[in-house]
Subunit: 178 residues, 2 copies
Amino acid sequence: MNERKGSPLDLLEALEETGVHPSEEERLLLGTDGSVTFLLEVLTGEPVAVETLEQRVVRADLQQAALLDVNEGDEVNLRRVLLVGDRPLVYAESLTPLSRLEPSFHDELMRQDKPIGRIMAEQEIEARRDLQELGVARDGRGCEALDREELFFREYDVIRNGEVLMHIREEFPSGLFD
Amino acid sequence: MNERKGSPLDLLEALEETGVHPSEEERLLLGTDGSVTFLLEVLTGEPVAVETLEQRVVRADLQQAALLDVNEGDEVNLRRVLLVGDRPLVYAESLTPLSRLEPSFHDELMRQDKPIGRIMAEQEIEARRDLQELGVARDGRGCEALDREELFFREYDVIRNGEVLMHIREEFPSGLFD
């Protein structure tokens, strides 16, 4: 049985040991196993919308195939968005193997206007979020989108039927809720 | 497709309209679709443990059978606990039809020392939390356990394979994080 090694709290503790001290809100966003959209909406008091920067189907390269446990060359939906409330809040990119998406989920994802957490709730998706990594990024793609030199980031898998339904990376600036 | 009616934010808004104004932390606890244990651990900075008040197998009465969508008389595990950090934080009671529990989950639940959110993470349970109701309770069983006259409460289902794996009610005092 898994012990708590690698739990969100352990990952947060490891981050603190590097001298980085996220606020309470930042710790919640970094470690949550629930919907980030919901957290943002409660923390800002505003509805959160999606601004899509890029969405296209790509062929999985070697690294993406390993992340998703698919074959190199398999079709993968790549989506890069900003989650926007009263201002841009979070940069998020997701990789989703097309073969694991049922048509109704696929259609919602392609509409480009809904956060993934909201799609999952509406589509009644049963899954778990498996946090892989969190920390501070100085060269993430979100730095340009959010016009910052460094950002907090986290990466996690949405697991369904024992398979990676999505691999998600989220990046957000420090001090968002100060 | 479901619209957002009945979403956590709608339920929180309905609560505000009754003149009750939970703090940011309380809104997060009331509305989260993730683990309450994780939220408590981040908000208090302390590990959260379970203190079991009662655990036994009961035969579902009419109301329990309706909540869980089982037959009257089916075996149901009833668990009443306090989630305790630096102090008692949350009173929680859960109803779990025994027929829907695999042996490993059953064993962990019977050990009585782990919060359900942690068991679900360790057992890699894929599910969704479906929030049913939230508000203020003046006669909940948690009032006695937490020695308060009124508490916030929420009720939700943990849904797996389209069935209710658990029905959970959580109660906690206002001002926990002031």
